[in-house]
Symmetry: C3
Subunit: 214 residues, 3 copies
């Protein structure tokens, strides 16, 4: 998910909260498909940790974070399971969870950029790695819930991740990747995503109707 | 799938039988979606070999078993294709195939634990590796059949795998991983799974209804 | 996707065209599910580059082609986005796109065989690697579009890839892998696929009806 220096305690704490929040909203999705408790826990883990896992496999960045540190599995599984008795509450706190999810989107995007940067990837790949880290977990969740991924259909989500990554990675190019820049990137990404939620900003859609199937 | 010492001939034979059985039940699933023969063979291979493949990618355990030993591909593809003319029979032998599948669940779980153990993984990862090996092939099958994975919805399956892995891995911790322990683990896992099938044991389900979609 | 010697300029150009064509037909599929522009671009990339990516992960062949050369991402994303204003035209040029897709099928199959051959894989794996390279991108597209993969259900597609790979790989065994053989393989694979399209050749299907679900 991320490999920030241990000093970035704030980002560390934020990402733990965001991981738990993503596992909890995944649990609601599991509940909508009447999954059992084991399924709830597994969907929580896959959703919260899947983006970083896919990024690491694509960049051959081993060992995977949760393999090295299984407490991430415990955190996300437990967060998902705790959602079961308080589902109504989680659902009612929708706006708060959207904010936590936005924090995750931005923090995981930055963490993904960091990993790719450490692997000496080129700038476009740094940004793609950020986007995959921030977004791919939700795609896995939707595949497992048998839905066309929301990411591809609605909301400014992947685009926020790309803009965040572009802004963040500029600092790599300019060699000014210090804490102020991290804070600026976080503020930009978080504000963009919350504005997109608030004002229902969406990308234009491509609608194509025809008779055949492919 | 597994990397047992060559002496474990019984386990080797059991796992070949279980691989074939999983390919055959996958073939029935393919037939329900009117797949063509090529699709039947491919779904058989993915279902039977997919769990071990995902585990190996996550643990960076290369080369993959079927890459090193393509006869596994042949075995599973042929088992799937042979199911076509005898589909009614396979369907009627449902109970026998559930038993063979249970053998696979337990043997593959143990094999997955062994691989993770050899890669010096921590105990939680040993158990997760066992579960992925035993269960993930069926998840791939259900994704390719465009269904919400059965694993997440019903039956004591993943849980049997986890209990089997817990029991089996205890021996690693206690350094008493000898043949008796393997036999005991097998008996425990197989009995649990068959009892779960017989008495329709299920995990509690999490049902959540709401109006919005995510 | 492929790792042909730089001299094979014709194949290089053909595969760039085929990549773009596959991204464009994927864009139509995205349009049928009303994806937004970001989704269109992402589905184009995944469809065109996914087969080679899966092959490389399975064979541990890193860095991935598009990670090393991100212009492939740009090519496929732009091709997908360009499809939006000219969707009707692309749809009407269906036959031309089927031909371009057939070129891709054959060229990517050969490229996949080459990669596996370079990794000292056995002959069956060389052929499987070719098939995965040629076909798996379309499977990912269908999963993301929430459909049972077309590859498993209809048309002579994977089989053409297997025959192409068998024919191509024979040259490896006979040590006669020169340019004439490449041209012959291309002609064979392309002709087979176009004949299959023209005469609606299909594999026999396996239809199985029963009451229970698994």
């Amino acid at each position: 998910m991320w490999n920030l220096p241990q000093t970035d305690t704030v980002l560390q704490v934020l990402s733990l909260i965001a991981l738990a929040a993503q596992a909890m909203t995944a649990a609601l999705a599991a509940g909508r498909r009447s999954m059992d408790w084991m399924g709830v826990a597994m969907l929580g883990c896959v959703t919260a940790l899947g983006g970083g896992t896919i990024r690491d496999i694509l960049l051959q960045h081993y060992p995977l974070v949760w393999v090295q540190n299984p407490s991430f599995l415990a955190l996300t599984a437990i967060a998902a399971l705790l959602t079961i008795p308080i589902a109504r509450l989680v659902h009612r706190l929708n706006m708060a969870f959207l904010a936590l999810d936005a924090i995750g989107l931005v923090v995981f995007t930055m963490a993904g950029c960091d990993v790719a940067w450490q692997k000496q990837a080129s700038l476009p790949i740094v940004i793609v790695a950020g986007m995959i880290t921030g977004c791919a977990g939700g795609v896995l969740r939707d595949i497992l819930c048998n839905e066309v991924p929301l990411l591809f259909r609605a909301e400014l989500y992947a685009s926020v991740s790309v803009i965040t990554g572009l802004f963040y990675a500029t600092a790599f190019g300019l060699k000014l990747n210090d804490e102020i820049w991290t804070v600026l990137t976080f503020a930009l990404g978080f504000a963009l995503r919350m504005l997109a939620v608030r004002y229902k900003w969406e990308m234009p859609k491509f609608e194509f109707r025809s008779t055949d199937q492919r």
